[in-house]
């Protein structure tokens, strides 16, 4: 064979070996989820590998199964077929080993506990000694920049501050993986953008692997290293857009960079293609 063919085959062999050795923290293999005895297919044959330290967004219209997929990863529901492996272990094992921190759209803080006590909740359940709980809580509140609000009650805090407490609580026990289901969905646009910057800063400091569900294209592109585009009926992954080329650290300037808009357009085209395909079938 000639020179270019040889180079191509060498590079593809290298790629294969590289992907095998790459640390895949979450391995989603042939996941399917059906409801109502097979009448509703929420997810159909999902395959996805997520590397350690990545920030992966699951993006798609309502009904595409992104929240279902997140809950399957976190072992909040069981799959109908396929499996999720986390560092080689099954999802239920990972949950029992407290590998997951979760943040939902509602902060769901306990209003009979102070902010500090709310952050301490998972630590109490996991039987951390009292002194360690105190130091960990203070660290976490400092991380989300709420160290002066430890003795306040949740109803005294704004929505954005409550979500920051929820993030502090989710990270209190240093989980390997952070699962977030539209955490900024209930916030106004300005708070949302501020929280996105906060989240990236926290991610940079803790280096957790993040799986983030959203239906906002700019949010997905801004935050992630990869955007997984999903489509409904049946729920499946249609495209994966690599956004790691956006420069880091990402800030308000990134939002005005041409590459940012290019990536948003790329993702939007993927969604439009799915819509058209769905309408014609």
């Amino acid at each position: 064979m000639d020179d270019t063919d040889f180079k191509q085959s060498v590079s593809s062999v290298v790629k294969v070996f590289w992907s095998i050795t790459l640390t895949s923290v979450i391995s989603i293999q042939n996941i399917s989820k059906v409801y109502s005895q097979g009448n509703v297919t929420a997810l159909s044959d999902i395959n996805l590998e997520i590397a350690s330290g990545e920030f992966v967004s699951l993006l798609g219209p309502s009904g595409c199964g992104k929240s279902t997929l997140l809950r399957l990863i976190g072992d909040l529901i069981a799959p109908s077929a396929g499996m999720v492996l986390v560092n080689g272990r099954s999802a239920p094992e990972a949950r029992q080993s407290r590998d997951y921190g979760m943040v939902f759209q509602q902060a769901t803080l306990y209003d009979w506990r102070t902010v500090s006590k709310n952050v301490q909740l998972p630590l109490e359940i996991m039987n951390y000694p009292a002194a360690q709980r105190e130091t960990r809580t203070r660290e976490m509140l400092r991380l989300v920049q709420l160290e002066d609000f430890g003795q306040h009650y949740p109803w005294q805090l704004s929505g954005g501050m409550q979500q920051r407490v929820a993030i502090a609580r989710a990270l209190a026990f240093a989980p390997k993986i952070l699962l977030m289901d539209e955490p900024f969905g209930a916030l106004d646009e300005m708070t949302r953008e501020r929280m996105q910057l906060e989240l990236l800063r926290i991610w940079g400091q803790t280096q957790t692997t993040v799986v983030f569900v959203t239906h906002s294209i700019p949010e997905a592109v801004f935050l992630s290293t990869r955007v997984v585009v999903m489509s409904p009926r049946p729920g499946r992954i249609t495209d994966i857009v690599d956004t790691s080329s956006l420069p880091t650290p990402r800030d308000f300037e990134t939002r005005e960079a041409p590459l940012f808009f290019q990536k948003i357009t790329e993702v939007r085209e993927c969604l439009r293609r799915d819509e058209v395909r769905g309408a014609s079938s």
């Binding site: 921190g101 939902f104 759209q105 803080l109 306990y110 909740l121 949740p154 109803w155 704004s158 699962l179």
Partner: protein, 300 residues
């Protein structure tokens, strides 16, 4: 959950005003009710208890035998309860109320414990709830007047003191609101909170102790306020078939015999019984104030 930014109040009222205002409002309502009572009597006596120009009569007769004057009722409290007896009516009522209250308190405590345990069990085991709930509801529809003598007779056979039977009857009326509200409160946390507990791999006991129980507390207090008054009713009704002489039940029964000749004593005793119920409920409300911050109380 509403989120409030901390703001300075627009006007500063002294901290003792709201509770004082509540007490004043209570007494003003009492005065208004007395005025309505006396006003009805005046109007009734003027029109001969009939609507003018018709033969339609007033719902309640307004003469002094049917509706004694307020001052007569109050006055009779300070007269000897029985001809030749030493205690004035007020003292007799106080002693009887204290006696009845002990039975009611015992029934309240037992009923609350049983009610809570039952609510917790039904909350944990859905199968139990489905199978037992109809019977629990049905238990409250059986008239107390039929059950009370049964319990007294069984108690007599078991040779236990009469007031135990009364306490048991009081328990019977107390447990139901506590069961229902405990169940409701234990189920009140939203599904997201339960999912979070699952993500921490928390045991069922941890979820109960750290999430469900604190969430249920406001609901349980609501039930306890209801139970405080119904436990008193249960005790009074329970005393009748028990033959107990020292409680409010006997007092009310005795004065009901003399209603034709002297209704004031009966009215005064009824007010005394009501006062007992109110004071017990106020005690529970006080405990609630100490345990729950204002933001968590269901009724303010």
């Amino acid at each position: 959950m509403a989120s409030l930014a901390l703001e300075a109040p627009l006007s500063v009222t002294p901290p003792w005003w709201p509770p004082l205002r509540r007490v004043l409002a209570f007494f003003i309502v009492v005065l208004v009710l007395c005025a309505v009572w006396e006003g009805y009597k005046v109007v009734g006596q003027a029109f001969g208890d009939k609507f003018p120009g018709t033969t339609l009569s007033f719902p309640v007769r307004s003469d002094d035998k049917s509706m004694p004057h307020i001052w007569t009722i109050i006055g009779v409290l300070f007269q000897p309860a029985r001809r030749g007896g030493e205690d004035i009516l007020l003292v007799l009522l106080a002693k009887a109320a204290l006696f009845t209250w002990r039975e009611a308190a015992a029934g309240f405590v037992l009923g609350s414990v049983v009610g809570f345990a039952l609510g917790a069990l039904l909350g944990r085991f859905v199968l139990l709830e489905r199978s037992l709930m109809p019977y629990i509801v049905a238990s409250q529809t059986v008239p107390l007047l039929a059950i009370a003598p049964m319990i007294v007779i069984w108690g007599g056979r078991l040779n236990w003191p009469a007031w135990w039977s009364v306490a048991l009857i009081s328990t019977y009326l107390t447990f139901f609101p506590v069961t229902i509200n405990t169940l409701r409160g234990l189920r009140s946390p939203n599904p997201t909170a339960i999912e979070l507990m699952r993500s921490y791999a928390a045991s069922d006991l941890q979820v109960l102790w750290k999430l469900r129980l604190p969430a249920a507390l406001p609901y349980i207090f609501t039930a306890l306020k209801i139970s405080a008054t119904t436990s008193v009713i249960g005790a009074i009704v329970g005393e009748l078939p028990s033959g107990i002489a020292d409680g409010l039940g006997r007092v009310l029964l005795t004065f009901s015999y003399y209603y034709i000749s002297g209704p004031e004593k009966l009215y005064a005793s009824v007010i005394g019984a009501a006062a007992l119920g109110i004071m017990f409920a106020a005690l529970v409300i006080l405990v609630e104030r100490l345990v729950l911050p204002e933001s968590r109380r269901l009724e303010n």
